[in-house]
């Protein structure tokens, strides 16, 4: 849909309500960049990173620079990282927070990104950068898949010895997948490329459940 990924040297944003797949998109983007050997950083406004899932998403954790910044520090932190140069992707996960940022902040961030050729990916609940973003993607939750079979298998065992159960199953595989619809609100798109598509996010830790 994006025709080659996030545009380099531009500000891109992905937005949607809770459980629409914003975090998963960030994990996938960071994983793809780091797997190619590029440098990437994540500015996390709510310290919301889950290291285990990030690892399952293909992020080599030792190569990821993670900055837990408060709401007021997020933009400054992002600017510092982008200004340093050499980062291919700097993701800014604002979560549900809505920072009150002046328009000039987005202009400045876009200019620095253009100068350094860095992809700045912003994830938020609402479209924040507006017309200053080169690409704007909206996510909407479509369907949730619960692992009924896994739950059915687990329930009879709840009466068993707790510790034995804890050894058998490392992580609860209750939700197995989340499907989201993706619509490209702003961005370069050729005629044959679709403006809408769907993404399925699979529960990564289901594999580790040895029931």
């Amino acid at each position: 849909m994006l025709g080659g990924g996030w545009p380099r040297g531009e500000l891109s944003e992905v937005y949607g309500p809770r459980s629409s797949g914003r975090t998963s998109v960030i994990y996938a983007s960071l994983g793809a960049a780091l797997k190619r050997g590029a440098a990437a950083a994540l500015v996390d406004a709510e310290s919301a990173l889950d290291a285990r899932r990030a690892q399952h998403a293909g992020i080599p954790l030792r190569q990821l620079l993670w900055v837990c910044a408060s709401q007021s520090q997020t933009l400054k932190s992002t600017e510092l990282l982008v200004s340093a140069g050499g980062f291919e992707l700097v993701a800014l996960d604002l979560g549900d927070s809505v920072p009150h940022l002046p328009t000039t902040a987005w202009i400045r961030l876009r200019q620095i990104a253009q100068r350094q050729g860095t992809v700045v990916l912003l994830a938020a609940g609402f479209p924040l950068a507006g017309s200053f973003s080169a690409t704007s993607v909206q996510l909407q939750q479509k369907n949730v898949d619960f692992g009924q079979q896994a739950c059915a298998r687990l329930r009879p065992r709840l009466g068993a010895d707790d510790h034995a159960l804890a050894r058998v199953v490392a992580h609860p595989p209750l939700v197995t997948a989340l499907a989201s619809s993706v619509s490209l609100e702003r961005g370069r798109r050729s005629a044959e490329q679709a403006a809408h598509c769907s993404l399925v996010f699979r529960e990564p830790l289901r594999e580790s459940a040895r029931t």
Binding site: A38, W66, G86, F146, V175, C197
Partner: protein, 500 residues
Amino acid sequence: MRIACAHAPQIALQAVLRGLAEPHEREAPIALTTGPGARAPILGLTRNARLAGACLGMTVTQARAMVPSLRVMRVRQADVDAAQAALQDLGLSFAPRIEAESGRVFFQVGDLGSLYPNERAVAQAIGARATQLGLAVRVAIASSKGLARVGTRAGAIVILPGVAGAAKARLAGLPLTVLDLDEEMHKTMRHWGIKTVGELASLPGPEVTLRLGATGVHFHRLANGMDAEPFLPQPPADAIEEGTEVDYPIESWEPLSFLLRGLLDRVLQRLACRSLACAGLTLRLSLNPRGFDLREIALPSPTREASILLQLIRLDLERRPTDTGVVGMTILIRPARVRSTQLDLFRPNGPAPERLAATIARLSALVGPEHVGAPRVVDSWKEEMMAIEFPMVEPITSPTTRGKPSENNNGQQATLGIHRFRPPRDIEVLIGPTGPTALRGKETTARILIAAGPYRMSGEWWAGGGFCREYWDVHASDGALYRIHQDRESSRWYLDGYYD
């Protein structure tokens, strides 16, 4: 075997002069004392002070009477040690094995023939390197340690031939003082009317042995260009330390940075001598009137850039300023091999290590050092547990995927992430006959449409901090898919996060 000896005369005076930030300060008449007070004896004098009339052994008052503009400085053992260590680094910049004694360093230079046209060029290079380290040295190259030591007393650059007869001829015209005879031996020689090394060498060996004993034989052999003193190499010091003190407390960054820059330059020169870089430093600030402040500056990759290190120190001081003025500072460097960078044609260039170090330092100053780093999975049964570690610039492994991205991404699968609340939020949950039916908390208040669970997990009881939880995945009426859990011990409910 060819041994070089670099000798720093008056090393205590040189140690003090190294600490002077401005080169023109060294031109002023300077006297060295051991203690405070007007009656302290003068132990060392610069050439200008000596020319102005000051002499060794005078008191400070007497010297100041002779030279009103005399600057009196106290010698610190730490400065002398640093100068001695710098002298050892000088040796290590030419040879892997050195032997040091007070004011001197010995090292093998026999294998430097392919780098320098002759031994005089080697000696000149040693002198030039010493100047970079802030030391003035005399250099001698000889076939043994003792002869090299004698050579350093004979002139600024002395090359003694390897053949004993030729070395004897070279030493013959020199005064006996170059042998550094003890007082008794010196008196005997004077009594015998012997004034030069050549005259001592011409004495018959058995007669010297009979009259002067082992000491006499040693000097007689030296005078004949023969020496059997072994070369005993010592391992170099692991850390590199430099320090300075000031007479008045410094309370602002500008003068402090001026002194720190000088210290860093000296330390990095020494590192460069050993082909090493700084992997981290410890800054010890002596505070006024007493006490000290210790700071650890970590680096993601070894560097020899003074400006980067200075910037990191400045950011650390801005983040955590000292309570009082600074009257002294010591820098301890942890050396490491210089990071070799081999760029990959097929891999994007990452940030320059030095710039990355400065950026991480700025970020640490902004958000706190505990909030910047590389995430790490912790070996724990609690799935929310994770840690953050200091980012190290390590060689990135070969790209695992390469090529064009998929053209048709409709229905493409990705890993489901979770947006964690850290720490888990306290919530109230309404329980129905089939499980949770509603939840209320700071993050959300919603009815629960679908609840999957419970999934009970317990663990870490063996480590003392055991837990027993029941996890639920709930689809709430606000559209979000939450993960909640109940602590079985306290019966309280917590919101872990939402799938996203």
